[in-house]
Assembly symmetry: C2
Homo-oligomer: 372 residues x 2
């Protein structure tokens, strides 16, 4: 499969590294509005064909599929252009600025008969599958806390009064979209869509609004409510969250590190609870602990690339795109549904947090489907 | 100071152990409706005077102060009776079933010129003061997560179809009141009252309603919103929460264990953030970590007893009770205000969680103050 990329970010570079390491994919070249930049980036990574126009890339018969590593706000329009040119698409998370954008992309892909997949690393990683398998043996789950918080060097830029795409409503970014999405999608994969959510942001200071084009979250918390348990999502780009993620059942507690790339997991089976008092904070009889190292590779993008190749191969062999296998959790349809449910959750969370993007205004201005 | 106790619980026993170890207090005896029980419990702990009637205890001139280790729902009425008899009162947390009850107790104490203090262990513990001191040096705080979750042997009783005071709306108990309060009061002490809260419970199964006398929380989560940061409180009596508590600033992350009795703390100062990509989950230059062991004693009730003695001594030496020193964080007035703000927060959280107590119905049925 011949893959072109859009974007010259570090993450695009990491993805191309995996294309070059794979015997199933070939790197064709990258798109950049600046020809010299497109050439240099493409050549340095063994590509042959730099692009400066999206239309040329979408129409190129040298390209079978496109990886989108561009800013969030551009994913949907770029995906639509590539789909219109018959290309399969793998897009960085989140696939669109909101659920409406993502739905438009998936609808177009369905009509065009191509594969669209979101590059959500944990949902393609055997280490996360191992966590899911551990979770299935916990018994009745009552609480979950998923954590991803990492101080971003781009926040230094904001504090220095400089614009950055990573904190900009016009780019559909901020802590929920860039980091929180790594807690939302595993939540949806593990537990399905919640009955309701409660969300609270830590907004960047008002003085930065000129840079961020509106109120924007530097950090935040979401409570996801289910029939008989509750989950909490913690995300941040302005602090370092040092806690592992945790899933608590009535009989055991599962903890695991880095939700985007888990490397270890621990299951603590409780013993028989012994009555506690002021002097005995926690006493149990018969408790036991299991520690597990999870499978690791240097670059976990290898898995999403491989799953994307599987899906495209299946389509080229005659499969309906939605039925094509797309990773350890299911087919393209399943991954699409997780992406859509995740964006729907994030749309509602942003509404409660008071964080809106230009793409949201379009949605509310647009006529209802029946009125078109 | 001659102290009697109400209740024959394990925690009451632990408190009497500290009375007996102190050269500032003497254990007089305990109240139990069952005379044999009152006698046996009192004698086994070196007391001389068992009580079976609250009125006798309140009127006794052998008693200067009373410790309340009874179920939450009884704290306010018992405290009011003791105050009416001129006794100083130290009551287990929470001091009342709701803010209205606690306010009535504090108002009566103010009129009677006696000390009322809530036995909230961390707010009297040097280990928690050390955590507060570490927090003050973190710089700009953006997020906090406070955790207390411990599987209760009493939940085994509920699952076996037996009634227990610890899961009973009529007793004003449940996970927030019994365990969550240990996260709420430190929150208020460290950060003050939040601007608003969002709360979600994990309710016990509907089949248990006959035992619990209404919807009751086995676990839950509260988000507390402040002007420029957000805190999350996690509490549970039906699971084991294995995470430490955490306070995140823009430059450092403080973690510490067991909020009711912290024994260690860690401060991780971040270095210069280095741009991350798929291959580099977290890279920093110049980060450093401080680990601290916190001061520990076998029974942390020693501190609240000592602070209570200080307050009563000051009053006996002529101080106004509200101005009397009551612990490392301030005077009786300060501790009163923390208790009231905490109960106000819990009242609102319970309202959102759909958990109500008989004492709440009294409040809404009662005439407005101006109508009396």
């Amino acid at each position: 499969m011949r893959i072109a990329t859009i974007g010259t970010s570090a993450i695009t570079s990491d993805f191309i590294e995996e294309i070059n390491a794979s015997d199933r994919a070939v790197f064709v070249g990258t798109l950049s509005r600046d020809l010299e930049r497109a050439k240099a980036f493409t050549e340095a990574r063994g590509g042959s064909r730099p692009f400066t126009e999206l239309e040329d890339l979408a129409a190129s018969n040298e390209v079978d599929a496109v990886y989108l590593g561009s800013p969030n706000a551009l994913h949907a329009s770029q995906a639509l252009a590539c789909i219109a040119g018959g290309k399969h698409v793998i897009a960085e998370k989140p696939l669109g600025a909101n659920e409406r954008e993502a739905r438009a992309v998936f609808d177009a892909a369905e009509k065009a008969g191509v594969v669209v997949l979101e590059a959500m690393r944990p949902l393609h990683d055997p280490a996360f599958v191992a966590v899911r398998d551990l979770m299935r043996n916990l018994g009745r789950i009552r609480r979950a806390d998923l954590h991803f918080g990492k101080y971003s060097s781009r926040y230094d830029e904001i504090l220095a009064g400089k614009h950055t795409n990573i904190f900009d409503c016009a780019m559909a970014t901020g802590s929920l979209m860039d980091i929180g999405v790594y807690t939302v999608e595993p939540l949806i994969e593990l537990f399905g869509a919640p009955e309701s959510v409660l969300a609270a942001p830590v907004l960047l200071d008002e003085e930065t609004r000129g840079l961020t084009h509106g109120p924007l979250d530097g950090s935040g918390v979401i409570i996801a409510r289910y029939a008989d348990f509750v989950a909490t999502l913690h995300f941040s780009k302005i602090t370092n969250d040092r806690l592992p993620s945790q899933i608590e059942s009535e009989t055991a507690t599962l903890t695991f590190d880095g939700i985007s790339v888990p490397t270890w997991a621990r299951v603590e089976h409780r013993g028989t609870a012994v009555r506690a008092a002021a002097k005995q904070v926690h006493v149990e009889e018969g408790a036991r602990t299991e520690d597990l190292e999870l499978p690791q590779v240097p670059n976990t993008m290898v898995y999403e690339l491989s799953d994307f190749c599987d899906a495209v191969d299946a389509v080229q062999a005659g499969s309906d795109p939605l039925d094509a296998p797309a990773g350890p959790f299911g087919n393209v349809r399943h991954y699409r549904d997780v992406t859509l449910a995740s964006l729907a959750l994030m749309d509602e969370a942003r509404r409660q947090m008071g964080v809106s993007f230009p793409a949201d205004a379009l949605a509310s201005d647009a006529p209802e489907a029946g009125e078109r």
